[in-house]
């Protein structure tokens, strides 16, 4: 039963959400969040029964998908309202986990915009209730930044359904996903952007194999997905045949905007870094202290920019401006990662294996570079800013209009 938030200003909306959470969130969850008890929160996150019940209740209220239209189980809020809801949920650690980002932030809006009535019925409600997990199947080993150069093939069968073959990569949480947002080439006789179709792939289909990809920090958030003679019914096509690139644009705009966080100006990673530096004595070094303060300034400025972006957006959709925040975020993440090690004794490079602070610092350092590559490299973001925000001339692929099959291979 969706919460009624019609006509509320942002402050009133915040109050309404807070009151609802007060009434509905299990008390032990609320207490763990408010006391900042990390162990209790981790235990809750691992307790499937509790989380499943909560995400169902949250989804039913419309708060998990506050930006979706009311008729699809959302609250019909603009970006600023969505941000307010996200803030309230974050305060109690009550929102959907990061692994649901692809589903809630990307798959949902894309299906809302492009889906058939039947697709909306099939996918949106389970997504809102936390019943389906999604992953994104866009990138390929041979088509990194140049997404549209993808070679995964979808061939139409006599009955109108499709057989898909190819390989995808950089697919977050693909090992746990129920469905995947898939782009595949359906007409190599057309130019590269014009022969792609977008599908909603059932990850349980025979022929889908997921292999985790180990990152430089030793963790495996991404997967490689191998597709071998995978049958996809035509009813799982999203948008029209060979017009998948337009559908993907919706997904990508959401992704750029969504990766850069919730609005709000307040203590962040740099504050924590300063606290740690005071503990280890690193704060006494004026050069290091100044670098931490530079990061502090950069983090607050990015927060202020995010606040403004949400305010500016109002009812508009996220656009190329998201690239500005993504670029700044990537730089900041790398800086904070390096600083994290520098405040540890000996730079954390040789430490007691049980020293959790040192381990976390090294992970922050090694992960720091990932954000400026995943979700579009910094070079690609600069192209987007230059071309779509500033209106500079595009540097076109010389084979952009050549049939895909006739392009030279690199």
């Amino acid at each position: 039963m969706p919460l009624d938030v019609t006509g509320l200003g942002l402050d009133a909306l915040a109050a309404r959400v807070r009151a609802w959470l007060e009434d509905h969130l299990p008390a032990h969850w609320r207490d763990a969040a408010l006391t900042g008890d990390r162990h209790a929160l981790a235990a809750i996150a691992r307790d499937d029964a509790v989380t499943r019940a909560w995400y169902a209740e949250l989804g039913d209220s419309g708060l998990a998908t506050a930006g979706w239209p009311v008729e699809h189980g959302g609250l019909g809020l603009a970006a600023d309202g969505v941000a307010v809801v996200a803030d309230e949920l974050a305060r109690l650690h009550a929102g959907r986990p990061m692994s649901d980002f692809v589903g809630v932030a990307l798959a949902g809006p894309t299906i809302v915009e492009w889906g058939t009535d039947e697709q909306k019925r099939r996918f949106l409600r389970p997504l809102a209730l936390g019943e389906h997990r999604w992953c994104q199947l866009f990138s390929e080993p041979g088509a990194g930044s140049d997404l549209a150069a993808l070679t995964t093939r979808a061939t139409r069968c006599a009955d109108g359904d499709w057989v898909v073959d190819g390989q995808k990569v950089w697919s977050s949480f693909s090992d746990r996903a129920d469905y995947g947002l898939l782009m595949a080439r359906t007409d190599p006789g057309r130019a590269k952007h014009r022969g792609i179709t977008y599908f909603l792939l059932d990850m349980r289909s025979p022929g889908v194999e997921v292999r985790p990809l180990r990152q430089l920090n030793g963790q495996s958030e991404f997967g490689e997905v191998f597709l071998t003679d995978v049958m996809v019914p035509d009813t799982d096509r999203l948008g029209r045949e060979n017009q998948g690139w337009a559908v993907a644009m919706t997904t990508l705009a959401q992704e750029r905007s969504g990766l850069s966080g919730r609005p709000g100006v307040g203590p962040g990673r740099a504050d924590a870094l300063a606290a740690r530096a005071r503990d280890t004595g690193a704060w006494d070094d004026p050069l290091l202290r100044d670098r931490i303060l530079r990061a502090f300034v950069a983090e607050r400025v990015l927060q202020m920019t995010t606040v403004r972006a949400f305010a500016d957006l109002g009812r508009r959709e996220p656009g190329a401006e998201g690239s500005i925040r993504k670029l700044a975020h990537g730089t900041l993440d790398a800086t904070l990662g390096l600083l994290a090690t520098e405040v540890e004794p000996g730079g954390a490079v040789a430490h007691d294996p049980a020293d959790g602070d040192a381990e976390a610092a090294l992970d922050a350092f090694l992960s720091g570079k990932i954000l400026s590559i995943a979700g579009g490299t910094s070079e690609i973001q600069r192209n987007i800013i230059g071309e779509r925000v500033l209106g500079l001339p595009r540097d076109r692929d010389p084979y952009a209009d050549v049939p895909f099959a006739e392009r030279p291979r690199g």
Partner: protein
């Protein structure tokens, strides 16, 4: 903090449009005068700002002859003036000196001169810094004796044009503020400046008659309040300068052809412009956020310091980048780029700069603000 984020209103946008039209029509970028010959134009512009828009009294309460607006309107004015590297006494008189006066209460002596300042018929200058060039209460050595001031004030912005000086001086109770009029015991020695749009002078006080404003020994908080407002003003001004540079550089990149294509198509230029845009958008958000805070609060102090720390460095980098994009033409005297470069460098020193702001933030980081 309220969940309702700040939004510019239609009135704000209109104010901005009027200001831009007025400023651009008088100091268009394309035929901007060389700094040294800008005096006459700037005097005319100042009259127009005062008479048509009431800029000098923007943040002065209506009860003291001003318009009673907030720092948001001040930030709009700063941004538009910054676009044109406009000179004139707005920053020195209507921001620094006026804010210091307002912060004294305003007390009776301040209240007496505020209407003329707000109306732009009189201008003031704030004289604080001495030989050390540091904005620090401990470094104020100008002494008071028998109602007369003796000391030397360095790099006083707008001193030569000022009808009245607001001077920080030390008495037994601490640092106080005084009103001093040019004349007996006051010698104003113009200095050579990097940025000719912001003239500065040394003020030699040798027993200059002075009236104290505010409570004895409580002058420094008023200086700090002026510094907070000044930081917000400069940040917004620098956003305006950055935007003007970015616009002109984008225009150049779209039209200048080299190697058979517009130079903006080369990633070397395109990515540099993108970096300028990123820096400038971040600067704009920070300046606006800072202007949006209630003056004198913790978040205002934080916002001012953060905005000034980011915007000042961003502006200098953007001015240097712009020269890189324009290439050879930008290193000529006639091109607009060096006016921005001069302003950007000078801005680092006219108030406590990014390094000092970060030092200030040492006391705020990790405190929950």
């Amino acid at each position: 903090m309220s969940a309702d984020p700040f939004r510019w209103t239609p009135e704000h946008e209109e104010f901005r449009a009027v200001l831009r039209k007025l400023t651009e029509s008088r100091t268009p970028l394309a035929c901007a005068p060389a700094p040294a010959s800008a005096d006459q134009r700037e005097r005319e512009l100042w009259r127009a700002w005062a008479d048509e828009l009431g800029l000098p009294g923007l943040v002065v309460p209506e009860s003291h002859g001003g318009a009673g607006f907030s720092r948001l309107e001040l930030a709009i004015a700063a941004e538009e003036l910054g676009r044109a590297v406009a000179g004139g006494p707005l920053f020195a008189s209507a921001v620094l000196a006026t804010e210091a006066l307002l912060a004294t209460g305003p007390d009776a002596a301040a209240a007496e001169i505020l209407p003329a300042l707000a109306g732009g018929t009189s201008v003031a200058a704030l004289a604080v810094v001495e030989e050390s060039h540091r904005w620090a209460a401990a470094d104020v050595r100008t002494r008071v004796g028998d109602g007369r001031l003796t000391g030397v004030k360095h790099a006083v912005l707008g001193a030569a044009d000022a009808d009245v000086l607001v001077v920080a001086a030390r008495e037994d109770a601490g640092v106080s503020l005084f009103l001093v009029e040019p004349g007996t015991g006051v010698e104003i020695v113009p200095l050579a400046v990097l940025d000719p749009s912001r003239p500065a002078a040394r003020v030699d006080l040798t027993g200059a008659p002075a009236r104290r404003i505010g409570v004895a020994g409580e002058g420094w908080p008023a200086v700090e309040r002026a510094l907070e407002a000044g930081a917000v003003f400069l940040a917004a001004e620098q956003v305006g300068g950055s935007r003007a540079l970015l616009d002109a550089a984008v225009e150049h990149a779209n039209t200048r052809v080299q190697f058979g294509r517009p130079v903006g198509q080369f990633q070397g230029v395109k990515h540099r412009l993108a970096d300028m845009a990123v820096r400038t958008e971040l600067a704009a958000a920070a300046a606006t956020w800072a202007a949006w805070q209630e003056p004198g609060t913790d978040t205002a102090r934080l916002g001012a310091a953060v905005a000034r720390a980011h915007c000042a460095d961003a502006y200098l980098e953007t001015a240097l980048d712009a020269i890189g994009v324009h290439g050879g033409m930008a290193i000529t005297w006639e091109h607009h780029a060096h006016r921005y470069l001069r302003r950007a460098r000078a801005d680092l020193a006219v108030l406590p700069g990014p390094a000092e702001q970060r030092r200030l933030l040492e006391t705020m980081i990790g405190t929950g603000v």
